[in-house]
């Protein structure tokens, strides 16, 4: 069985630096380096930040004062993805692929610092609110800025579904492609390391009676397209996506993930029996999920919690990290603490050069 959808390019901003290569080298060299979140509203929280970068230079614009940290990450990642696809600029892409045949689907917890800042300004004095940052209240605005920069007119959507967000984004992008609405989806996840996001992570941990574990920020984006479309464009497949499944199972992530696996098994039969690698949190018992024993990777142990971009970082690791070999069948599973469960089944096709 050959997957109908393929991933043809990847871009990344992680604590290891900019680009998938930086991630690949960094993750092989050692765990992420964490430091205290500066300006945290609550307790001291450790995070692994993306190294400082010159956004004006990377984005080729002077005016980025309206962009919050999440927007910068998303725009830089989408810019880099375009370049990876061989599109030096939007005109070059447009000549090959019409604007309305391209979409952007993002999984993220949203621009939390902008939202908190705007409300803090409102409390202090409503007339202090800066009009230019008012749109940053909207969770989909970081992706929308990237869409504006690149003339992405097919659609632009942000999903906020906790740790399952970027896997669900992948599922939504797959649906857009399979319905024929678009030909190329730019899809992935992004999070910001800000005091407001740290507050959010602390809050999630506190409701479980736990201290906030270290977290990481950044963005990981991928180009997803139909296999024949990629072949016609001369783009090499990094991996094939067979499909995704998602359910809601409060109080029992194992039952939820087992339901996801069951849904995938009904569609792809014996492929699930040929799995050689599973990305899953360390507290997930693969046998209870209905999977045979195989290699498993729990990224959070070494890299911290990636929140809404967890699924996209697992995908990045599968594509460019040292763990997966070309040809391997890989399952990525995510279970949010509240009950959201998602899984994605893929096959690695090529190793990053």
């Amino acid at each position: 069985m050959h997957p109908r959808l393929v991933i043809t390019a990847a871009s990344a901003l992680t604590s290891y630096g900019l680009g998938p290569e930086a991630y690949a080298q960094g993750v092989e060299a050692g765990p992420a380096q964490f430091s205290p979140m500066i300006g945290s509203y609550a307790q001291e929280i450790l995070c692994a930040r993306v190294p400082a970068y010159d956004a004006r230079q990377l984005l080729g614009v002077r005016s980025i004062s309206n962009f919050d940290r999440l927007t910068l990450h998303v725009c830089v990642a989408v810019d880099a993805l375009h370049k990876r696809l061989g599109f030096g600029d939007t005109q070059q892409r447009r000549a090959l692929l019409a604007d309305d045949r391209v979409s952007l689907v993002l999984g993220s917890s949203g621009p939390l610092q902008s939202i908190v800042d705007l409300d803090l300004q409102t409390i202090q004095e409503p007339s202090y609110v800066q009009p230019s940052i008012v749109p940053n209240l909207v969770f989909n605005v970081p992706a929308s800025y990237a869409a504006i920069r690149h003339g992405i007119r097919g659609s632009c959507i942000t999903l906020t579904d906790g740790d399952t967000s970027s896997l669900k984004a992948l599922a939504m992008a797959a649906t857009q492609l399979e319905s024929g609405r678009i030909d190329l989806a730019l899809v992935g996840g992004a999070e910001e390391a800000t005091p407001a996001y740290a507050l959010y992570r602390s809050a999630l941990a506190a409701t479980d009676g736990q201290a906030c574990p270290p977290f990481s920020e950044g963005a990981a984006m991928f180009s997803l397209e139909r296999a024949e479309h990629a072949a016609a464009a001369g783009r090499t497949s990094m991996a094939g996506l067979f499909g995704c499944a998602q359910v809601f199972a409060p109080d029992d992530p194992h039952a939820g993930l087992a339901a996801c696996v069951d849904k995938l098994r009904r569609r792809f039969g014996g492929l699930l029996d040929a799995l050689t690698l599973v990305y899953a949190a360390k507290d997930i018992d693969l046998q209870r999920v209905g999977l045979d024993p195989c290699r498993r990777i729990s990224l959070a142990d070494r890299l911290g919690h990636f929140g809404a971009m967890s699924g996209s970082v697992a995908l990045l690791d599968a594509l460019v990290g040292p763990s997966a070999a070309a040809g391997e069948l890989i399952l990525i599973v995510q279970a949010d603490r509240a009950g959201a469960c998602a899984a994605g089944l893929l096959q690695k096709h090529a190793t990053l050069h």
Binding site: I115, V138, D161, M172, Y200, A203, L204, Q246, V247, G256
Partner: protein, 409 residues
Amino acid sequence: MSHHASQRIVVTGLGIVSVIGQDVPTFFARACSGAVAIDRVEGIDVSRMNSDRGAEIKDFRVEDHFPGRPDIAALGRAKQLALAAARQCIDDADFPLAAHPYEVGVALGYTQSEAKTMEAATDRITSGSLDSAGVAAFADYAPQSVSQQLAREFGLSGPVITIGNACSASNFAIGAALDALRRGEVVAMLAGGADAFSRSGYAGFSKLGAISPDVPRPFSADRQGMVPGEGAAMLFLETLESARRRGADVYAEVIGYGESCDAHHITQPDPAGIVQAARAALRSAGVSPDEVSFVSAHGTGTQASDKAESAAFAHLFGERIPPVSSIKSMVGHAMGAASAMECVAALCSIREQVLTPTMNFLGRDEQCPLDCVPNQARPARVHTVLKTASAFGGNNAAVLFRQISRQEP
């Protein structure tokens, strides 16, 4: 994965909590009577803002919808609004939910979602009193906590999809639900939107000069802006085959869906994007523009948005633009819930064969040469309805509904 566009999807349940009615019959009756519920904002301090007009649901008491449920009374306002609308919708559809584990899901759109929870945290930050309880409470701000609350309350264990596409988000949610049904991933979906009145949202629109000093006057001469509101609305979607098999009452068929991004400006709408989404919806249904009998517009009442929409409709329909209406003239702009509310009104228009009015209309604006059903409801043949919605970032989504008769195969 496969996509079965031939699978026919219908609406078999509706629910709404709005400023003009907290159930569907009351809401639609008051919409048809032209009830304008714009009033002075009381829930937040607007004394230093540029307007004081809002559409808060001041008489909303979740106890009326969930008597004897202190657990629900303790939830955030967006969750309460969403649950109340969903309760009606689930009851209306009367679908055998328990018979379909992992096959009935939720798709929910929002703009700011549980804003009051976030405001409680910022109040504490400002006063230096953010203690551990305050930190824990901030988790409740997560937008997915609203959609997940719906899933938990009603035992919906299929996909839960939470879409942050602001003012068009619930149209996007309906599109996501439609896709899930057509792929055969689910047998039914609860789809809609919910938003609570937001301080920072109000301040933002106020600072942009977007809020009307009196009432919203969509498509009218001398319109001066929108008016923020709140609420929730839900649709229950299933296949026509399922609805027929169980003898369910069908409001209408969802025959088309389209989405687009203007990729133009973060706040200024582009008519081309609206046309693109509407055309995609029509194309997906195999329907030509002249088959559309009514357009439920985004219709905020701002100069830019109404002008862009009018230009889009002129481009899409040519000289024969069908009647276009905006209930935002009565209920204000309920943000992420807005387009779901407007879908509820549109579906009732199909059922009752009457067009809801655009209230507060003062006279024709040359930039909006439309029949906006001014100031009075109108009996009409309502067969196919296009529901358009737009949002910051230029994100548009259009849903196409068609009347369906019991005699239809």
